[in-house]
């Protein structure tokens, strides 16, 4: 399909900073990537690398004192129009029409993502009534259907229950049902399986894939779990301290990764072929404190291939190393 070549969502040089008394935290510092219809983009990185803030920036729900200071987020709407999301007021009618209706969000904490004092049904029908011109009764029917479609048994009963009455897996399914209730064209799943056990995790991922195939939905999957990425994604963006350090197809990333950070991440995955009782390789050091970000390449203090006088002096830029793969590292720049 030719349509596939046209991104649904295009993020360019996005910078979201948090201005605090102690200093400015550059949560996202120049991220660029595209999300295509029907495809899954994985965004990986350690905790605190700006994955979640990127998602919140796209939906324009970054909490104060966070602010998008630079960059563009372009969404192609259902009618074919392109909208520049950074130009919209966060609480404007247009932005609210996009939120929930065109972009759905699944959060990493199914426990606290539902209000403790409202029923699941209250929150799901609310979204349906808001974005579709339907009666309360019709919204409830669609809510039950949405719960059924994500594999929740007895949805006509579950809809009147509270989130804490559901098990972790069911709760996450309900969360996905809310996000999908208005058939968004883009689903942002922020660590959708982190809080779940492995079996439930696999079920949820299967579910996401099935639903994606049904309506050609794009998925932006935020995770730190490379196993999930390998299983789910078409393209991958690796982030470190708010920057994209490498991006490419899932094969590029797993089989010919370029950036030392990506390589280090991959080597720290336990493998079934590995000798047992051997210490897993780890990335030395820890993520720098957000207020004390190193000059030059943000990864150089932990990098095995650090080049003195280069990495700590200049900032690398994201450059193409092949047709689809880009990396931000001086090792690959002439």
């Amino acid at each position: 399909m030719t349509k596939d070549n046209h991104p649904l969502l295009s993020v360019r040089n996005l910078k979201t900073y948090f201005f605090q008394d102690e200093g400015t935290v550059k949560a996202v510092d120049g991220a660029s990537f595209d999300v295509f219809p029907g495809k899954t983009l994985g965004i990986v990185g350690e905790s605190g690398c700006g994955k979640s803030v990127t998602a919140q920036s796209i939906l324009r729900i970054v909490d104060a004192p966070g602010k998008i200071v630079e960059g563009t987020i372009t969404l192609t709407r259902a009618n074919g129009n392109q909208v520049e999301l950074t130009q919209l007021q966060p609480d404007s009618q247009e932005m609210r029409d996009i939120r929930g209706a065109e972009i759905g969000l699944v959060f990493q904490e199914p426990m606290t993502s539902f209000s403790p004092v409202h029923t699941v049904g209250d929150q799901i029908t609310e979204a349906i009534q808001l974005h579709m011109n339907v009666t309360k009764l019709e919204a409830r029917k669609r809510g039950i259907e949405a719960l059924r479609s994500v594999g929740i048994p007895k949805p006509e009963r579950r809809i009147d229950e509270y989130a804490f009455e559901l098990s972790g897996g069911l709760r996450q399914r309900a969360m996905i049902a809310v996000a999908l209730s208005c058939s968004p064209r883009l689903l942002i799943a922020d660590e959708p399986t982190t809080a779940l056990d492995v079996t439930t995790q696999a079920q949820i991922l299967d579910l996401l894939r099935t639903l994606q195939q049904q309506n050609q939905m794009a998925i932006m999957l935020i995770t730190h779990n490379l196993g999930v990425v390998a299983e789910m994604c078409d393209d991958v963006v690796v982030m470190y301290l708010g920057r994209v350090v490498e991006q490419g197809t899932v094969d590029d990333i797993f089989h010919s990764s370029k950036h030392p950070y990506t390589k280090a991440l991959l080597s720290s995955i336990p493998s079934i072929e590995m000798e047992s009782r051997v210490k897993l390789p780890t990335i030395t050091g820890s993520i720098p404190h957000p207020y004390a970000r190193p000059a030059g390449c943000p990864f150089y203090p932990r990098c095995e291939r650090f080049m003195e006088g280069v990495c700590d002096k200049q900032e690398p830029t994201l450059l193409a190393v092949s047709d689809k793969q880009k990396v931000s590292c001086f090792l690959y720049q002439k």
Binding site: F107, E109, T112, S113, V117, A127, L130, E165, V178
Partner: protein, 329 residues
């Protein structure tokens, strides 16, 4: 759920019984009795009172009997709905309290309405627009309101009223209506006198409640369910009012239990300063005079109201908070 309610009610009855014993002991604790106090007052006034007269009085009021007999007699009377005589007033206790009870409830309700109507919106604003100029202003004014003792504020208000407006703003009625029987004019007179005591009584509560609402709401605003509500495309005002505010209000429901006795006794010192004809000053007076039937009844009333208030707030909380209703901690 029914079992829970039955258990709560039985426990409440047990607590009330304990309160009757405690309040009886408390009013008996100070040395001497009503007759001693009465004799002192009489001799201070120049007319002495003989030992024989004292004994006769003690005999008459049953004060010379052992404590447990007095307690049992008192309980017996209460069971029959008779709360005894207010010795100092020479009238039945219920009569004396009844006069003031209605006025106390009116004033306290006015104070509570004032408090809630002012504190909740300001608290919500302060939390949502945290660190804004108005938030700082409300915090500043709120702390001043919290720091000024109520009686001090009452004195200042009265002083200002008297020296600048030439009117005495104490009391609840103008001189013309104080002793008049109830009529529409008297009610109107009462309404005109209400704002000053209601505000004076409500100021510190308002300041406190703004702080509580602000911090409750700040806690809730950080929760992921607020962000997911936003992500559904709800308007910001609807997100705030429907979700975090609703959750942040729950703790206030548990304070209703403490409001009930407050509604009845009011603030004693402020009421004295503003010369409000409420139950608070009555309690103080009866304790000073060791008028045990009157004091005992008021203390008992406050205890019972606390228990009932707590029961009501527990049941209300169960009703509004599904986490409690459905038995999850």
């Amino acid at each position: 759920m029914i079992a829970y309610m039955v258990r709560r009610i039985l426990l409440a009855l047990l607590t009330i019984w304990m309160i009757t014993i405690l309040s009886f002991i408390i009013i008996q604790l100070p040395p001497g009795d009503f007759v001693d106090t009465y004799a002192n007052t009489m001799s201070a006034g120049g007319t002495g009172i003989t030992q024989a007269e004292k004994d006769a009085l003690r005999e008459q009021y049953g004060i010379n009997q052992p404590m447990y007999v007095q307690y049992l007699k008192w309980m017996g009377l209460i069971m029959q709905g008779n709360f005894g005589m207010a010795i100092e007033w020479g009238r039945p206790v219920l009569d004396v309290i009844g006069d003031r009870l209605m006025l106390t409830i009116v004033i306290s309700l006015a104070a509570i309405v004032f408090t809630w109507a002012l504190a909740l919106p300001i608290g919500i604003y302060s939390a949502v627009k945290r660190y804004s100029f108005l938030d700082y202003l409300f915090t500043f004014v709120g702390f001043i309101g919290l720091a000024i003792p109520g009686f001090m504020l009452a004195l200042i208000v009265m002083y200002v009223g008297f020296s600048y407006f030439g009117s005495n703003i104490g009391g609840l009625f103008s001189a013309d209506y104080a002793e008049a029987p109830w009529s529409m004019e008297k009610v109107w007179d009462l309404i005109q006198h209400l704002p000053v005591p209601a505000i004076v009584l409500g100021v510190s509560g308002t300041a406190q409640m703004i702080r509580i609402m602000r911090s409750n709401l700040l806690d809730e605003l950080r929760k992921p369910y607020v962000m997911t509500a936003r992500a559904r495309g709800l308007a910001e005002s609807r997100v705030i009012m429907k979700y975090p505010v609703r959750v942040a209000l729950n703790p206030f429901i548990s304070t209703i239990g403490y409001l009930l006795p407050y509604v009845v006794s009011g603030s004693i010192i402020v009421s004295m300063v503003l010369s409000l004809p409420t139950v608070g000053p009555l309690l103080l007076k009866s304790l000073v005079a060791q008028d045990m039937f009157l004091a005992g009844t008021i203390v008992l009333l406050l205890g019972v109201l606390t228990v009932i208030g707590t029961l009501i707030s527990d049941l209300l909380l169960m009703w509004v908070d599904p986490r409690i209703r459905l038995g999850r901690q």
